[in-house]
Amino acid sequence: MLTKRVIPCLDVRNGKLTKGVKFKDNIDIGDPVETARRYYEDGADEIVFYDITASHEGRGIMLKVVEHVAEQIFIPFSVGGGIATVADMRDVLLAGAEKISVNSAAVKNPHIISEGAAAFGSQCIVVGMDVLRVPQSAAIPSGYEIVIHGGRKHMGIDALWWAQEAERLGAGELCVNSIDADGTKDGYELTLTRLIADHVRIPVIASGGAGSPQHMVDAVTKGRASAALIASIVHYGEYTVTDLKRYMAAQGVPVRTVW
């Protein structure tokens, strides 16, 4: 039986692990390679690196991080943040990542999804969506809007429409991140997660808001997500990945328990 995945997400800035709340006030909290290795040993099913570096030098450092991770961590991992062209994707894949997450670049230029899928296969292309709850309107019938720049820029695009469009263009997976829930530790936005998961055939990763193991159970049961993305809940040592998976298993969620 296919298990539900637990995916720690590491925000990396200039080669250092960092964490913010609602996309603001980032502080450095450690070495991404060491941390990824610990999560791997604790039973993480996959790892996501999100590069929040803007500078050119920072990009070079990030590719080194990806290489170091690929040399010692033998589970899939994906890299996102600032990837805007097929050439950027190739750099990241050659450095050793399995998947690429495109977010704002895909909103601005949706063809990056189809170009990436044609060049590397749909299984490589994760479309990350930052979503904000808004009043329902003719333009945003679902009441969930796509935003970029960490929620600062509204795009006037309906999140459900965009999810289906990304699937049509060849995305292999969707990572649905609620800006309302991000960093709050109050739980995932289950209505949003479920809405997207019920309307696409590709796997959906729930993101934003994990504060307890029960939240993760809810994401994959009530939210129908295939995977739960986590950050603060493990970065500060509150829970280990092992603790979370044991809890999920005890609640009857199929998770990988032997590694």
Binding site: M1, I75, G121
Partner: protein
């Protein structure tokens, strides 16, 4: 030394990194002499059956592989490499290598998971095996282990070649082959410790065959 067959498919370097981590000597190559000199072949792959077959034919690698297998060289196919060892693939409606009898079919979108919800395609994530036969590749591996899959098509070899199956919407063959010629639909190089152990078992087998000759 293991030869990772270079036919321009994806993820060749992932396999190389895993072997290097295990201190197993390996090289990514399409050179017939280096392939002939190796102790075993790894035939990996991410991509589409049609373009993979074109590259194999253009480079003549399909003949080299057939000769090597005929001569008793061990081979491990992975993912796409597992599928195109068969006779035919529904993907791009392509005749494939025909080294193991059978064909490769697409997951039907009508299939459902155990809870009744329609399956996602691709089958992506960690899934378990139901062993149908003993296989030296699994020596020392806890058979409750899950392995990492990502695919939209699945192999259907002749029944006598089925080594293990996996359930996703239906039961499908996830490991097939015969002694010395194996193929896994999952990615051992991305399946953590159990996957690394499988690669290491393959190398051990290759070394033993090499020394017996």
């Amino acid at each position: 030394m293991l030869a990772i067959l270079d036919y321009k498919a994806g993820n060749l370097t992932s396999v190389q990194r895993a072997l290097e981590y295990l201190s197993i000597p390996c090289t990514i190559t399409a050179d017939p002499q280096r392939i002939a000199a190796s102790d075993g072949l790894i035939f990996p792959g991410v991509g589409a059956a049609g373009s993979a077959m074109n590259t194999l034919r253009e480079t003549g690698l399909h003949n080299i592989m057939a000769q090597q297998i005929q001569a008793g060289k061990p081979l491990l196919g992975i993912c796409l490499g597992c599928q195109i060892l068969l006779d035919h693939s529904q993907e791009n409606n392509t005749p494939t290598l025909g080294i193991i009898p059978g064909h490769c079919a697409e997951f039907s979108p009508d299939l459902c998971e155990e809870d009744g919800s329609p399956i996602n395609i691709p089958h992506m994530g960690w899934n378990s095996l139901i062993m149908k036969k003993n296989c030296v590749l699994f020596n020392g591996i806890d058979l409750r282990s899950e392995f990492y899959f990502v695919h939209s098509y699945y192999p259907q070899p002749a029944p006598e070649f089925v080594i293990a199956t996996t359930c996703y919407g239906r039961e499908f063959c996830s490991v097939h082959g015969r002694p010395g010629l194996w193929a896994t639909q999952f990615h051992p190089e991305k399946s953590g410790q159990p996957g690394l152990k499988l690669l290491s078992n393959f190398y051990t087998y290759c070394s033993e065959v090499h020394h017996a000759h």
